[in-house]
């Protein structure tokens, strides 16, 4: 390689912090994925309904030579959709609140994109570098600190190389994620609950009854399902004593009995099921699509939106799905854990190879896409809930269950003195989860029936109602 290229690579790796290029890659990857998730959604919908789905628009779009007649299974469809959204008339009805109407979709997508920041993509990357310390530098470690990429930290002491005395080898580590926040999962919960503002503001600003009702429903939905979601996350946080997603992933990087990976889904299956239900509700999708409700609210909060503004709402919904699915994977499926990708036994998140870090990110991403497929599968399988059923599921079932589960986790951890890496503790948690499911099954038959909302009213004077009409009394 010519020395010029080496200099450029050296300058870039020293002066561009790793989180910046991870951020750029993540951002474009997520936005691109969202477009293709829409294609996947349409494909899944049509497969469930015994159709083939969009399979006409190839990447040649009928104009690019050679490939213009290739269909490619509909790969060009998302791009064609995007072009359509941009070129459509951006219609704004009379009587809307102009500022809020424009702000709402932007606010929603902004919050969702911000929330991808703390996802732990690939563990910790460790690298080595040989530096030449100038004679003017007095403190070698301090000088070495200026020669490593921004945002990374030096491990150990600089080791002298050779006989000249001014060359040192330094080892540095950086975390393979955008931001290593110590409030991790709390940050995601906080930011994702802000996305409901986009829905509410959009519904309010549209000056339309349907949109307004959609916004109200979204609020009620979000408030109800935040609680069991937070509580089921808390069960995991309690187990490892940290909010950082990368630490939680790291704690899952070993095997029980040598074969079963120590993923939390095996020790906390009930928490996993509750978290899965809650992120479905959080995404405002069928069977929890109260805010959109095509059947009775004509699209709900986005009834009045068209063109790119509508597309932003749409993108935010799918990007939110990516984030929540990624959190699910990190919390319950060991994040990027995959045979062959773990580091040394004393620090399994560590890797000295960039290739392995990227492979881990890909594994994490593929796991996320599988969870998103489950989202779509559920959407096209289950009928919608009525609003009172939705509330009942949260307040009468999920919240008591998650509170009891939290208590149970705390008790098991106290018995084992908080030592969760012990395989017996995990087995006890699993048994306790199963026991709780059985207890809930028994208890649920005893608790009083739900209030009879939407009960059948017997029309006065009909053959079902023996009460005579006032006219018949005389």
């Amino acid at each position: 390689m010519p020395p010029m290229v080496n200099t450029i690579i050296d300058w870039v790796s020293t002066n561009i912090p790793p989180w910046l290029w991870i951020l750029l890659v993540c951002h474009f990857a997520i936005l691109g994925t969202v477009a293709y998730l829409i294609l996947l959604e349409r494909k899944v919908a049509s497969w469930v309904q015994d159709r083939l789905g969009p399979n006409r628009v190839g990447l040649g779009f009928g104009i690019i030579p050679i490939i213009k007649n290739w269909h490619m299974g509909g790969l060009g469809q998302p791009l064609a959709d995007g072009v359509k959204f941009i070129l459509k008339e951006d219609y704004r009805p009379a009587g809307v609140d102009k500022v809020l109407f424009t702000l709402a979709p932007g606010a929603m997508i902004l919050m969702v994109i911000v929330s991808i920041a703390v996802l732990p993509w690939g563990g910790t990357y460790q690298s080595q570098k040989t530096i030449t310390v100038p004679a003017t530098a007095t403190d070698v470690t301090a000088y070495a600190g200026t020669q490593i990429p921004l945002g990374s930290s030096i491990v150990g002491d600089p080791t002298p190389v050779g006989i000249t005395g001014n060359q040192y080898t330094i080892t540095y580590q950086c975390s393979f994620q955008i931001a290593k926040l110590n409030i991790g999962v709390l940050f995601i919960l906080a930011v994702l609950s802000l996305t409901v503002y986009g829905v509410v503001i959009g519904g309010w600003a549209s000056n339309n009854k349907y949109s307004f009702l959609g916004g109200l429903r979204a609020t009620a939905n979000m408030i109800s399902y935040e609680i069991p979601m937070g509580l089921s996350v808390l069960c995991i946080v309690l187990m490892f004593g940290t909010l950082q997603l990368d630490e939680i992933v790291k704690a899952q990087l070993h095997n029980w009995a040598g074969i079963v990976p120590a993923w939390n889904v095996f020790s906390q299956p009930l928490a996993f099921v509750m978290f899965l239900i809650c992120i479905h509700a959080e995404a405002n999708r069928a069977p929890f699509d109260m805010a959109e409700a095509e059947q009775e609210l004509v699209g709900g909060y986005h009834t009045e939106y068209s063109a790119m503004r509508f597309a932003l709402f749409f993108l935010a919904e799918y990007a939110g799905m990516i984030t929540t699915s990624a959190v699910l994977v990190a919390l319950f499926f060991g994040g990027w854990d995959f045979p062959g990708l773990r580091g040394p036994a004393n620090d399994p998140a560590l890797s000295t190879s960039l290739i392995i870090c990227i492979a881990r990110s890909l594994v994490f991403f593929i796991k996320t896409v599988v969870v998103i497929f489950v989202f779509m599968w559920v959407r096209w399988s289950l009928p919608r809930f009525r609003f009172d059923q939705l509330m009942m599921l949260a307040w009468r079932a999920l919240i008591p269950m998650s509170l009891a589960l939290l208590l149970m986790t705390a008790i098991v951890l106290t018995i084992f003195h908080g030592n969760i890496s012990d395989g017996r503790a995990s087995l006890s948690l699993l048994l306790a989860n199963i026991a709780m499911m059985i207890v809930f099954g028994v208890v649920s038959t005893w608790i009083p029936a739900a209030p009879a909302t939407n009960r059948k009213l017997k029309v006065l004077g009909s053959r079902y109602s023996k009460t005579p009409l006032p006219a018949e009394l005389n």
Binding site: W47, D50, R51, L52, W377, S381, L382, S444, T445
Partner: protein, 178 residues
């Protein structure tokens, strides 16, 4: 109707599995997964890719359609000398339940008949393709062809006049002789 004739159905009681909801959800997911597998593995056999594959080309077991009995767009037949066969008797427009045939008669320029249609318009959007016109025609002048893929960009375009109906005859006569 007496009260004893009325069958009152009670809501079925939910079993424990139904109350827990999740077992039933899993059964439902299994059903849709079965459909997904069927389409992804055998989809090409089950779905007709319309513009490339047409139902009339397929055998009946694979969802084929018998075109011979299909009633599509109309045509006005011509006789051996290439003249329009219609004698403007108004039988078809009288029989038409959708009132979509509009004929204006004029004196025939030929010796063998008294009248011929100066104007013959069919509104293909109003037509219900019942075939009563071809039943009513005494000289077999109006016929329904097997062509079903007619399109137009405006409503005006879909009102077929005499020249267009005669042109359809020219186009279809080879495949569907009178």
């Amino acid at each position: 109707m007496k009260d004893s004739d009325v069958i009152v159905l009670e809501e079925p009681k939910l079993s424990l599995g139904d109350q827990f909801y999740l077992p039933q959800v899993l059964i439902g997911l299994g059903t849709t997964m079965k459909h997904m597998f069927n389409v992804v593995l055998r989809g090409k056999d089950r779905v007709v890719q319309y513009p490339e594959e047409k139902r009339e080309d397929l055998p009946v077991e694979k969802g084929g359609m018998l075109l011979k009995t299909y009633r599509g767009v109309h045509r006005l037949n011509k006789d051996e000398e290439g003249r329009v066969k219609c004698v403007a008797c108004f039988m078809c427009s009288t029989a038409c339940p959708a009132r979509c045939i509009h004929i204006e008669a004029a004196e025939s320029p030929w010796q063998d008949r008294e009248k011929y249609p100066a104007k013959f318009d069919i509104d293909e959007l109003r037509c219900i393709y019942c075939g009563m016109c071809e039943e009513a025609c005494p000289v077999d002048a109006i016929e329904l062809t097997h062509v079903y893929d007619i399109v137009g960009l405006t409503r005006q375009e879909m009102i077929f006049d005499k020249s267009k109906l005669l042109r359809i005859f020219d186009e279809t006569v080879a495949k569907e002789p009178m």
